[in-house]
Symmetry: C2
Subunit: 337 residues, 2 copies
DNA sequence: AAAGGCCGTGTAAGCGTTTGCACAGACGGC
DNA sequence: GCCGTCTGTGCAAACGCTTACACGGCCTTT
């Protein structure tokens, strides 16, 4: 191993050029008040010494770390990883780095994660949990740095957020199914105790039923599967309820149900129609392909991050509740209307 | 918004208790040399003040940030996100945070990413690129902090790494196919210019052919698709070559080929056998399900991170080239032997 | 009873930047 | 020729912590 050259500091540069630290700092930070000739000399020395500013020291002195925190349920879930990709790309564009934390949607872990991120002095946080318990809210409120929700919602619009209009999306999808004569439509959610499921998806579904004059049946709402395997078990429950159509909150779960039915001799879409809601690759990999609500996942992340940069920059937002447009994609798992 | 209480510092705690900074620092850092009664008083004050150590200041003073960098091609790819999950879980266990950067396997971006991470004074780096160009290697060599490769390999075992024995895995898979009489077996790679493909997967494939006394035909090696859509196009090329079996490096690509063939009236596995190599959910979602090499993705990430903790801790590694065991999973896309 | 150790604590020097303030010199206006 | 402005630069404090070193007191040991 070559001799470990100690990293050059701003001091080394200053000394080499014969100016003060302040001047070097100014050219490094693009401050205008430096004579061109001085600037050139400094730049030359920086290059020769291979000087790289120490972000930690800079963070201490300036109280800005140019680092944000991302707290999410699980990177492994394609929906969230696509959001993250959007966040990360915009973050990079604005020179921020992202500290990632998986919480598995566990609220205690979310609190710990946020606390930890604050300890690291992040300049802002993107939160992707689907739940937002009181402790988490409290933590966020007292954070002292801006937080924006991506693909998630808070009660009373208490936090800046970007997502789609889940109520309308689920209402529309359900309505279309109803229009094709379905009476027993299953709604498959991730959980009964999170706002996005309970206050949005479910509400949209219920509205559609109400408009169609069909009684809501709690038996047709399922919410205990988060993985493909668990989806198989849940699919059996659906089958026992004699549903003829399914609206699912997640693609893997939807494929799981699709496969289960087909493996048991059902024809899709003849015997069962399915529509899912994330439009990940899982929905085009299945046979038949899955009709889906098409959320602009990448954009949700990107826009959320863009909002965060503004907030971190002290700018006021004219609109803190952004709803991005979504589309409905019709594929083989539904009978074209 | 409530009055923005300035965060308490170690100084506030010291003053409140009537001890010196050093003592507070000692109790915060679990140093033994503090009388129990003093420790209790300090702890009480910390609690009352809601004091949280500032990690940035700590990083400056101690020259350790308890932060690592993860540079990866794309979070959105399930293979990498699973590795990342392993990394992240172990990192959390050892109190490290992970800074994530996507490079899309672009070598320039990888260099920039690493440079940036070093600027942020990370204590170590997990690198997941499949390529490792000279500039990237140079950057890593001069990093001054430990770097370990996860699911990747460097020429001459120049860097600590954890993965599986790709050569043997691909050789075995190909051999099994040959044993079933296939003469024209396609090998589908991600690229012809990265070590993992060229020096490992391809070599395993070639060995199998050689043992079987079959001439290697470059026409049967495909490497231009990285996405599902591109996979469809490439599938047409495979079909034109009249292959009867396929070994694919990635599940999404494999499913793409599978679907293409079936959509064109072929029967799988009767007319075409396919085996893939990541065993992500994509391989159980397809119909038929895909036979696959089963890499312990999560473990690769976890073990890599564990190695990194040791390295960051100044420990010597007895073994820097870790090959985790893999299994072969036989599913519907191959004819059971 | 003197010498040596250990324990618990304080002192203060960093760590590598940013940034408010001061100030020297050049320049223009009157 | 004096004064007021700018420009460009330096000075030094501050950011919030860690940590080497020193030291006073008390307990052992011989």
């Amino acid at each position: 191993m070559a001799e470990q050259k100690k990293n050059a500091t701003i001091y080394d540069v200053a000394e080499k050029v014969g100016v003060s630290l302040a001047t070097v700092s100014r050219v490094v930070n693009g401050n205008d008040n430096v004579r061109q000739s001085t600037r050139d000399k400094v730049l030359k020395a920086i290059d020769e010494l291979g000087y790289q500013p120490n972000a930690v020291a800079r963070g201490l002195a300036s109280k800005k770390t140019t680092t944000i925190g991302v707290v999410m349920p699980d990177v492994t879930n394609v929906f969230y990883s696509e959001l993250t990709r959007g966040v990360d790309d915009i973050a990079q564009m604005y020179q921020y780095d992202a500290l990632l934390t998986n919480t598995d949607d566990d609220q205690d872990r979310a609190v710990t994660a946020i606390k930890n991120l604050l300890t690291k002095q992040v300049d802002g946080i993107i939160y992707m949990g689907t739940k937002l318990s009181a402790p988490v809210m409290a933590m966020i409120q007292s954070a002292g740095v801006p937080v924006v929700l991506a693909g998630s919602v808070a009660e009373n619009e208490a936090l800046p957020s970007v997502n789609i209009d889940y109520v309308t999306a689920f209402e529309t999808v359900t309505t279309k199914l109803l229009a094709r004569g379905h009476q027993r439509i299953a709604l498959v959610l991730g959980s009964r105790d999170r706002a996005i499921d309970q206050d949005f998806r479910l509400v949209g579904y219920q509205r559609a039923l109400q408009e169609a004059g069909i009684d809501y049946d709690d038996q047709l709402v399922f919410a205990k599967a988060r993985t493909y395997e668990a989806g198989q078990l849940q699919a059996a429950d659906l089958m026992a309820q004699d549903v003829t159509a399914v609206v699912a909150y997640d693609d893997e779960i939807a494929v799981s149900i699709l496969n289960y039915y087909q493996d048991h001799g059902y024809k899709v879409p003849e015997d069962l129609e399915i529509v899912t809601s994330n439009n990940t690759n899982f929905s085009i990999v299945s046979r038949p392909e899955l009709s889906s609500i098409n959320q602009p996942k990448y954009d949700i992340g990107a826009v959320a991050m863009r909002m965060l940069t503004k907030l971190m920059n002290g700018e006021e937002l004219t609109d803190t509740q952004i709803k991005l447009p979504y589309t409905l994609i019709s594929r083989g798992s539904t009978r074209t209307k």
